[in-house]
Amino acid sequence: MKLNFRVVLLIAVALFGIIFSIPSLTQSQHGAKVTLGLDLQGGLHLLLGVKTEEAVNSQLKSVASGLKHFAEQNDILIDSISVEGKNVAFELLDSEDSVKIDEHLKTVQGAVVKASGGVYTVSLKAEEIEKLKTQAVDQAIETIRNRLDQFGLAEPVVARQGVDKILVELPGIKTPQEEQRARELISRAAKLELMAVDEDRAMRVNDLSEAEALSYGDVILEDALQPQIKHLVNEIPILDGTMLTDAQVGYDQNNRPVINFSLNSAGAQIFGDFTGRSVGKRLAIVLDGKVYSAPVINERIGGGSGQISGNYTVAEANDLAIALRSGALLAPIYMLEKRSVGPSLGADSIKASLLALVSGFVLVMIFMIMYYGLAGIIANLAVLINIFIILAMMALLGATLTLPGMAGIVLHIGLAVDANIIINERVREQLRLGLSVRKALEEGYAKAMRAILDSNITQIIACTILYVYGTGAIKGFAVTLSMGILASMLTAIVGTYGIFQLFSNRIEKSKNYKLWFGMTRKVN
């Protein structure tokens, strides 16, 4: 018996497979291990869409609010500024100011300005709109990631899928309550706006229709705590949450949780100017389109900080502060797909597929030994090593094992022995022809290899296509299967050949083809 390179290679890959499977099998903290898919460990999977048109809309609104602020500062008289469809429209009352206004409009990115007889319409270029939409998705991914990171769940995944979809995976979710809280945190727009109450018409708020309000440049908003109360506020906010630098949970004099926020210097400046000008009037603090409070301004407020009070529990206040800190979503998001699996179901699925895996493997093993004798044992060894290699490679690549992936492995056992069957049949044939064991092995492996290669290359091509065009679960299936095919070529074509070579002299001497290859008929 002499060690040959094939056996050495087989031992090496077997060691590789076993060593790198250990962390996955023992679920230890150290080393790379296979991550279980959400269908096996339980958790929440969401596919989200982004309403990107809303981002464009809000950009137009902010163009309008910038214009208004600019006009006020420079004593330019403009009238009936509003966002109509995809345009901002306003009227310039004094044509002498047109130079100044044009100058300002030039600083607005991607703006297309049309003016006739003092009536201006400002729209956005197509590229600018595209850019805004892309930004909205990017920003949503970033914001959701920030929020979930601060939420304190283990290993959240937030990733772009396709062009404008967002994949969120939360393996740590255990209860429906947790799930709902996470969903709310993700979807919360967290759009903070400070808006001026229209004191001239505030008394008539209950008699005004939305369209009438809009004609005055106002909107009607609900009160957050008492929905029957309506507030009439200027449509264009004084400032919004983009100027927010921090938000923290604090407590008011009654020891109820509130959220204290602070503004950056530009925001503080605008806030100071406005409050200085509007003493005696009211300021509405609006979050996600609802008025949380509308205190009367007693004096100019410098320093740029404010407070949101609602009937919050500590957890709610905490989530809201996280959302405010992470920034508002530029565009609302909605749910395209949701899969939530409870931890107990995941455990059941693992149990069921392990049972299938083990019983399938045992059946195949018994069958192979019965049919091929010692060659069957060698084939079984190869398949076993094969499974370890799949596990190890998946662990090292950080691949995810899903339920269809498990099915892929189970199925692979059936297919992996096939390479060995093809080889053994070929070797038997050569032995029947009366060749020496060494020669029969050589010929048998050479002939078997051609068929195995042809077939496996075809299968790997199919797997690649599956991977490219498949979605989550299917991808996992393609990964385990193609790894299995590669591993099986290594163990069956190279590995088992090495083992047979090791024993070829002994087989030759014993001439016991029944023991070694399960051949029951006499060789003539």
Binding site: R183, S187, R339, G342, S353, Y371, A407, T471, A473, G518
Partner: protein, 323 residues
């Protein structure tokens, strides 16, 4: 153990017409079934919601149905037992796109008062996702067929490739005829099964083709029918063994994998049987019918070899500086 006589040549092609008629009938029965009865598509394709609920004790299905009827989202919802009497599956075509309160939360509220339960799974797919999946699935399938066609043409001949593709379509159509007949849920895992059967079928077929090619190259015989019969007989033992092992594992998946795997394990189970049958009785037979000629193939091979030899000669001459 040996199941087949190693030197006996079975006359598989002699019975060709019988198997052709059998395949033909099965194939068109399957198409008729799929066309008229269709599939019970899972929510992966149609959009909708599946909620899996496990009760402590036997699930009160009637009570659940009654409770659900009042809710708009669950109009025409189906409630069925799932795996065990404690567990039920609620299926509805509706889905919700808001995040703060979704159809799962609604279900939990409605079911309050029907007993102690745990919601173990909520799968919700919006209508858009399903459309995309259908397009992608079909693209993947057609691309794979094209890739196989190219690969087999490259390694064998276009007639072999054509026959292989027909055999694959035969296998898949018949298998999914069964899926339609037994009203198995057609979901994303079924697509995986479909592609798996495709892979298995081509694998089996290639093993037989490889033998045919070998016999063409090595034997003096020019009778293609004889060659095919011999090749199928020689691979008989391997085909049967592998089919048995694969059948074993698929059977364990079918038996122990639970209802959740049914969309995968059922088509696999049928596909393995049909795939084995077709690689023995259909694929090789089809090559014969495409008018494959051994003599012509040998000529072509000889020409190829000649060309190669000439090239090498040229190269050798070139290297020696003769040209």
């Amino acid at each position: 153990m040996e199941l087949f006589k190693e030197d006996k040549v079975y006359n598989f092609l002699g019975k060709g017409k019988i198997f052709f008629v059998a395949s033909f009938i099965l194939f068109f029965l399957a198409i008729a079934l799929i066309a008229t009865k269709g599939f019970s598509f899972g929510i992966d394709f149609t959009g909708g919601t599946v909620v899996q609920v496990k009760y402590q004790g036997v699930a009160p299905i009637d009570k659940v149905r009654e409770a659900l009827e009042k809710e708009e989202l669950f109009k025409h919802a189906s409630v069925t037992e799932f795996g065990s009497p404690e567990e039920i599956i609620i299926k509805t075509a509706a889905s919700t796109d808001g995040l703060s309160k979704d159809i799962g939360d609604v279900t939990r509220e409605i079911l309050k008062g029907t007993g102690e339960f745990e919601i173990r799974r909520v799968d919700m797919v919006g209508p858009k996702v399903g459309d995309e999946l259908r397009v992608k699935g079909l693209t993947a399938f057609l691309l794979t067929l094209a890739a196989i066609m190219a690969m087999v043409t490259f390694r064998y001949e276009w007639r072999f490739a054509l026959a292989a593709i027909i055999a694959i379509v035969h296998d898949i159509v018949i298998t999914f005829g069964f899926v339609s007949y037994f009203e198995i849920d057609f979901n994303i895992e079924s697509v995986a099964a479909l592609l798996m059967i495709l892979g298995y079928s081509i694998h089996d077929t290639i093993i037989v083709y490889d033998r045919i090619r070998e016999h063409i190259q090595e034997s003096k015989n020019s009778d293609f029918v004889m060659i095919v019969n011999e090749a199928v007989s020689r691979t008989q033992s391997r085909t049967t063994l592998t089919s048995l092992t694969v059948f074993f594992v698929v059977l364990t998946l079918f038996l122990f994998g639970g209802d959740i795997m049914l969309g995968f394990s059922f088509p696999m189970l049928v596909g393995v049987i049909i795939g084995t049958y077709s690689s023995i009785f259909v694929a090789a037979q089809l090559v014969v019918w495409t008018g494959f000629s051994v003599a012509r193939y040998r000529e072509k091979m000889a020409e190829k070899l000649k060309l190669q030899a000439e090239k090498e000669k040229m190269r050798a001459q070139f290297e020696q500086g003769v040209v």
